[in-house]
């Protein structure tokens, strides 16, 4: 299949693995920032195939995992109101708030709908003028442009029964937060390719310089990830710390000008809380003043809703790469996808869920070892 099969070729993967093995002479720890990359690494067993002295640390880039409890509770509050159609991407429906999730609201009579695009939610608003349609705007720089476009269109078309519950987060401040942690072990980053396809790479050279850390923009297929690791390892071995683009088929240095233009018109940066981590300054987006009328928090008066997260799991440490999921005592016992204690176990891109789904059988005894040649 074009653009997928080419990047899963076992023979090419073997060559990259051999090259990585030849390159590394001592242990290195690198972080893949994005949950999609984590999922792909675990799903394809890439971590099992790497030389032992490459450690992959899983980063905070799962938008479902990092959406704060407070925002989930606001979503639940709004979605349970009569006359509201609450639209969301699919994987947010199972994320627990303080005592419920959106599936619960739906089964309790709330009109909660899964949409594949925020523009679908806008269409629902146009088709149901008597009801308030709210879209749950979560995600990194990847989802933000389409969501910005939906609000932009709503304003242009004067669709007044449409609003956004916004909890967008930005990657560069998260990378900085990881690097500034006193316990940080990360020596290189695999930056999220789809984020850079929107934002470009101009935000990264400063970070690479300041923290003396290689940053390699990396895609999501197995060969993309192996190439990212190979380049990061090469820089580490040479003592370099540059930004490299290993995903040129999708990423231009200047990003996507159209997407950036609508982002800058609709959103403005703000401090944002990350679930399990805390507030990271400048790490989020909120609707700009010109679009304040479309802010669901104000329209439904849930701005003051505050919740407190009880200390029962180590999801925050997992999100920052400080521990691996199985190092948490609850992992796989009291905390499973069926009964998640933390958001990293809920989302399919969450590190704990990926480990649970694909790795809880520590060393599966296989009948034979597959050849990759």
């Amino acid at each position: 299949m074009k653009y997928i099969d080419e990047f899963q070729d076992p023979a090419l993967a073997r060559r990259l693995l051999d090259d990585i093995a030849r390159t590394v002479t001592r242990p290195w720890a690198m972080m893949e920032v994005c949950g999609g990359q984590t999922h792909s690494i675990i799903r394809h067993g890439i971590d099992q195939l790497l030389p032992e002295n490459i450690e992959l640390i899983h980063g905070p880039g799962c938008p479902v995992c990092v959406t704060p409890l407070e925002v989930i509770d606001k979503a639940l509050e709004i979605a349970s109101r009569p006359g509201v159609v609450f639209c969301s991407f699919g994987d947010m429906l199972r994320v627990p708030g303080s005592d419920r999730d959106l599936f619960w609201i739906k089964s309790d009579g709330g009109d909660v709908r899964v949409v594949y695009s925020p523009l679908d939610a806008l269409r629902i608003a146009q088709q149901t003028p008597g009801r308030q349609v709210v879209f749950f705007g979560v995600g990194f720089e990847t989802t933000a442009p389409a969501i910005a476009m939906a609000v932009h269109q709503a304003k242009r078309l004067e669709v007044r029964n449409f609003s956004l519950l916004v909890s967008h987060v930005r990657v560069p401040p998260a990378i900085e937060a990881v690097m500034r942690s006193p316990d940080c072990r990360v020596q290189a980053f695999l930056a999220a390719g789809h984020v850079c396809s929107v934002m470009g790479t101009t935000e990264y050279p400063d970070l690479a310089d300041t923290y003396k850390v290689p940053i390699v923009v990396t895609g999501f297929e197995p060969l993309d990830i192996l190439e990212g690791i190979r380049r990061a390892a090469r820089q580490l071995e040479r003592g370099e710390h540059r930004v490299e683009n290993a995903y040129p088929r999708a990423v231009r240095p200047q990003g996507n000008p159209v997407a950036l233009s609508v982002l800058r018109e609709v959103f403005t940066t703000t401090d944002r809380a990350w679930r399990g981590i805390g507030i990271i300054a400048g790490s989020g987006w909120r609707l700009s003043d010109a679009y304040r009328d479309y802010d669901a928090e104000h329209r439904f008066d849930v701005t003051c809703l505050v919740t407190e997260e009880p200390a029962v799991c180590r999801s925050g440490e997992v999100l920052q790469g400080l521990i691996k999921p199985h190092e948490c005592a609850a992992f796989g016992t009291t905390c499973t996808p069926r009964t998640p204690l933390g958001a990293t176990m809920v989302s399919s891109e969450g590190t704990c869920a990926a480990y649970y789904l694909y790795r809880r059988l520590a060393t599966p005894r296989m009948e034979e070892t597959a050849s990759v040649d």
Binding site: G45, V114, Y116, G278, P310, E317
Partner: protein, 353 residues
């Protein structure tokens, strides 16, 4: 550079709801929630030994005859989709459940639950399709029922079918009979039905139209049994897909399954759609495919018979039954790594990005 205020004292997560006291969509998804509902609510309530096997159809004896007996309800939306409609699905689904016991399906019942306001022409088209599918599957509809519910209390048409068929002498096909060494076979490409439904329900296109694989499999099963009655397990991987079927077999037989991921036939359009939406083809629904666990000594002959049948041309060997990791399905990835292929919780959810 920005100022960082990370609240290290408060790095924690809340305790989410552990159990839903009401029905949620996941209870009908064919995954872990469905299994829990059956195991913890229905089975204790019914107290029937015959149900314990949790097979697609029950094998019962009546008047000396071994019968397979099965029922299924169809709540598909939309009613008409590429490659089929709720009418032929209601026949093929029940016929296939009977066939998975090795039975020759014979008779069907058919109950319609109609929503007030549904066009009679729609009901007529579905009935016509149902009749045609029954004739194609060589079964006879012998009894039925019609109920109407208020407008707004249904999706136009729901259909329930039940069926009975005769299990031939010497045939004993059940998930419990999987044995280490069995060859795991799938009768064709997976995921087409799930993606066909998704594409029309959500208005998504993936370059090529994906057509449902809905088809009656009794003929294919008979062709397989003509080679040997010693087939251990047959399962049609409907809701929950291939992964769920394999997990159920592994659990029922207390064996492990090694799935050779690269050997699983996935049509390009299905793979593309799944990649775009963050779904896994092994969990997508099928309505015209079967999974077989066949003793190794018969595997080649069974494969030949399947590939000679019109519904089995793209049959593939996808794995092996093993004694290791009982109750678990472990995939060997294309790159040579391994991963667990788990039972899904409920329905698959398209991811954010």
């Amino acid at each position: 550079m920005t100022d960082i205020t990370a609240d290290t004292e408060g790095w924690s997560c809340p305790t989410p709801p552990r159990d839903h006291p009401v029905v949620v969509m996941g209870h009908g998804g064919g995954g872990a929630l469905s299994a829990e509902l059956t195991r913890h609510l229905f089975l204790p309530a019914y107290g029937s030994e015959a149900l314990r096997g949790l097979t697609d159809s029950a094998a019962v004896t009546l008047g000396g005859a071994r019968l397979a007996f099965s029922t299924d309800s169809y709540v598909v939306r939309p009613l008409f989709f590429p490659g089929g409609n709720i009418g032929d699905l209601a026949v093929n689904g029940t016929v296939n459940d009977l066939a998975m016991s090795g039975a020759v399906p014979a008779y069907l019942s058919c109950a319609f639950i109609l929503e007030e306001g549904t066009k009679l022409s729609t009901v007529g088209r579905i009935a016509q399709a149902l009749g045609a599918a029954a004739r194609a599957a060589d079964v006879t509809v012998v009894t039925g029922d019609t109920k109407v519910v208020d407008a707004g209390h249904g999706d136009g048409v729901y259909v329930n079918t039940a069926g009975i068929g005769l299990i031939p002498e010497g045939v004993d096909i059940r998930p419990q009979r999987a044995r280490p060494g069995d060859v795991v076979i799938v009768s064709g490409p997976i995921g087409q039905h799930g993606i066909a439904i998704l594409s029309v329900r959500e208005g998504l296109t993936f370059g090529t139209e994906v057509v449902s694989d809905t088809a009656p499999l009794a003929g294919l099963v008979q062709a397989m049994l003509a080679v040997t009655p010693e087939i251990h397990v047959l399962r049609d991987p409907t809701r929950g897909g291939l992964a769920t079927a394999l997990n159920e077999i592994a659990t029922a037989s207390d064996t492990g399954v090694i799935l050779d991921e690269g050997a699983v036939p996935v049509p390009e359009a299905v793979a593309t759609a799944c990649a775009l939406l963050g779904l896994d083809p092994v969990y997508m629904a099928n309505e015209g495919r079967l999974v077989a666990f066949v003793p190794r000594k018969h595997a080649d002959a069974v494969l030949d018979a399947m590939r000679a049948h019109p519904l089995g041309r793209e049959t593939a060997v996808i794995g092996t039954c093993v004694a290791e990791h009982p109750g678990m399905v472990v995939a060997r990835t294309g790159l040579g790594g391994t991963r667990i292929v788990d039972l899904p919780l409920g329905e698959q959810l398209p991811r954010i990005c």
